[in-house]
């Protein structure tokens, strides 16, 4: 019978139906970081449970690492304690850890695909809601809580209910200056921040097919911002080419056998979906958020349509009917698991080259991983950014969330390539976040205010 990738992967990894009626699902790849796991390891110790499949768990550190200097011990005692706990737990359990002094440390959702750990047809879990990112390679990947991390460590399994599948078809060509970030912000705006509850999102259509894996990751990453715990794209030639030669990807004949199997895991042509929606990519414009959740967005040139007195409008200091374009910014942040990959830095550099950051703006470039940082430096991108007045940082989550020294202060406004504009998200309870593509952030950093990147790109070679 015709089936979706979600159904095929779910069935393949089902151990059995539990007495509760939930499914016992095997987790093919478990990724851990320092924030959501120390309590899980403690629970295991309290029960005397061992880690069942230590070779299927991989660890790195991302949320709490300082990005200006990653020298140990960290100046922040609590951050150092969390780092030490992770090192101790991984050593004791026999789990591979990429710490700051290793060359592969980075944001967990950047390094998984980068190392070829993330592969089509897998189930992937991590104590982090942006685990949906890995769906870009045709995996079924989702965030879990700490008690579930304990379950995966103890049994390599989870107790879960299956999801429905919504096909999101995106067709047509994106205009210049319009990126994957604009596509996902537009999808969330239309379907709502809880429109995806109960669903896995399957993204497809010729727009997605034409996208790189990096772009697909940006889209899948923010599925959770639309309420969908899982987002994925069916594996295709782009996926296979991305994986070839990566450290943990199969090699030689095994790679060919893997490709043959990966093809069979894609959704069948006549599979039934629980819901379908369509988007026309050619109508999507550079998009920015104006509110306090990622569904509250507009095209950069479009008036904000919220009613006067709206909580989000008041918090952000915007007025009904005004545009985000022209908003003076204090901080520009390019990085995060959404948009901290090499291609994001390349797009930003294209905008930045030959210009300088506005005097009043603090501007940060935070590569998503040490490998991204090295690759960018090999291309000379760091010089473009440093010459323009950006700070060139080490790999980590940085200003996406307030768990490390990179934070907004007071009511500062940040143009940010990250994923959440929640109140307080960037470390100041009254700080304000405008989400947008990396190119838009770069353009805003230079202008000192939110601008339409399409105007900046006029005259820049494609």
């Amino acid at each position: 019978m015709a089936a979706t990738l979600f159904q095929k992967v779910w069935d393949l990894h089902t151990v059995r139906t539990l007495p509760s009626g939930q499914t016992q699902l095997f987790v093919g790849l478990h990724l851990v970081h320092e924030v959501t796991t120390p309590q899980a390891f403690d629970m295991l110790r309290q029960h005397g449970w061992a880690v069942a499949f230590p070779e299927r768990t991989f660890a790195t550190v991302d949320h709490i690492v300082p990005t200006s200097s990653q020298k140990r011990p960290f100046l922040d005692m609590m951050a150092e304690q969390m780092m030490s706990a992770l090192e101790h737990n991984c050593l004791e359990a026999g789990i591979k850890l990429w710490a700051p002094d290793s060359e592969n440390q980075g944001i967990v959702h950047v390094i998984g695909p980068e190392l070829g750990l993330t592969q089509p047809g897998m189930t992937i879990a991590c104590g982090d809601s942006h685990t949906s990112t890995h769906g870009a390679l045709g995996a079924i990947a989702f965030g879990i809580g700490t008690s579930q991390v304990r379950d995966v460590l103890a049994s390599q399994c989870l107790s879960l209910d299956p999801l429905k599948v919504r096909r999101i078809e995106v067709s047509g060509r994106l205009s210049r200056g319009v990126y994957a970030k604009d596509v996902i912000l537009t999808i969330i705006r239309r379907l709502g921040v809880h429109g995806g509850v109960g669903f896995a999102y399957e993204y497809g259509g010729n727009t997605l097919e034409a996208m790189t894996i990096d772009e697909r990751m940006t889209i899948c990453n923010m599925s959770i911002e639309g309420g969908a715990r899982i987002g994925y794209v069916n594996p295709d030639e782009t996926t296979f080419a991305f994986l070839r030669g990566r450290r943990f990807a199969p090699a030689g004949d095994a790679f060919d056998r893997a490709v043959a199997w990966w093809r069979t895991m894609a959704t069948d042509a006549n599979a039934a979906y629980d819901d379908r929606v369509a988007f026309d990519a050619s109508t999507i414009e550079p998009t920015v958020t104006w509110g306090i959740n990622p569904g509250q967005s507009v095209a950069v040139t479009e008036p904000i349509d919220a009613a006067p007195g709206d909580e989000a409008l008041e918090f952000m200091g915007f007025k009904t009917g005004t545009r985000v374009q022209g908003t003076r910014i204090d901080v520009a942040f390019i990085g995060s698991c959404t948009n901290g990959r090499l291609s994001d830095l390349e797009e930003a550099a294209r905008v930045v080259r030959g210009h300088h950051v506005a005097k009043h703006v603090k501007a940060l470039i935070v590569p998503g991983s040490q490998a991204v940082r090295r690759a960018a430096e090999a291309r000379g991108l760091h010089e473009v950014f440093i010459d323009a007045g950006f700070e060139w940082r080490g790999a980590g989550c940085s200003m996406c969330l307030g768990m490390n020294p990179d934070k907004l202060e007071g009511r500062q406004i940040s143009a940010s390539s990250s994923n959440r504009n929640f109140k307080g998200r960037q470390g100041s309870p009254t700080g304000r976040t405008l989400l947008m593509s990396p190119a838009m952030v770069a353009a805003a950093a230079i202008a000192g205010e939110v601008v339409d990147v399409r105007e900046v790109l006029e005259g820049v070679p494609a």
């Binding site: 093919g28 959501t36 029960h47 069942a52 809580g145 379950d151 809880h194 095994a254 307080g424």
Partner: protein
């Protein structure tokens, strides 16, 4: 391996058939886990003390915030609106609520991760219609001392003469009733079946 797990981090153990207590009405859609538990309080290696930091920034910004309202002291049933607990998967948010004494939540809808994390702590998140939530919130705001009873098997919520129907996903409901809401022990039973699944996965066997 067969020992019944005792979730030391959670306030309850064993079957959860009924929750009775006073309510706290928190209004607003899309209240995310960053607001419930700001990220700076995640900088710790245990969940201890999180109950003191619930909505810390929201409370500072709004002196009339429900979580700072003394009339609700001792409440154990939280009544919220749509998409409560969206955003980050941090279990620190439901841990804080559970440690503050909340034993059940009733809302228009919950983020899946949040609802699952709460279930792992023995705290059911019931879903009810918008009109029903409004009536419950209005009742609790007018009479915070009113006792509310939530019946897990039927989903019936009773508060004085007010009766409201709510629902839990069937598997979560059955787990609470049987006491198997903490699944680790179940997942560890018949581990040969788990090994058999691992043995049939092409990516674990060299394709």
């Amino acid at each position: 391996m067969s020992a019944q797990p005792q979730a030391s981090s959670s306030p309850a153990a064993g079957p959860v058939a009924q929750v009775t207590g006073r309510g706290l009405a928190l209004r607003g859609d899309d209240i995310d886990t960053d607001r419930i538990m700001p990220a700076r309080f995640l900088k710790a290696v245990s969940f201890e003390g999180l109950e003191h930091h619930l909505f810390e920034d929201d409370r500072a910004a709004d002196p009339r915030h429900a979580f700072g309202d003394p009339r609700y002291a001792g409440a154990s049933i939280l009544i919220v609106n749509a998409n409560f607990g969206c955003g980050s998967s941090r279990e620190h948010a439901p841990q804080g609520l559970a440690r503050a004494g909340f034993r059940a939540m009733i809302g228009r809808s919950f983020s899946e991760i949040f609802q699952g994390n709460s279930a792992m702590l023995g705290v059911p998140c019931f879903v009810a219609g918008g009109a029903e939530i409004e009536r419950l919130q209005a009742l609790v705001e007018a009479t915070p001392e009113a006792m509310i009873t939530v019946d897990v098997a039927t989903g019936m919520i009773t508060a004085g003469s007010l009766r409201v129907e709510a629902a839990l996903p069937p598997a979560l409901r059955d787990g609470f009733l049987s006491g198997q809401w903490n699944p680790t022990a179940m997942l560890l039973q018949d581990f040969d079946e788990v090994r058999a699944v691992a043995a049939r996965l092409p990516y674990l066997t060299g394709f």
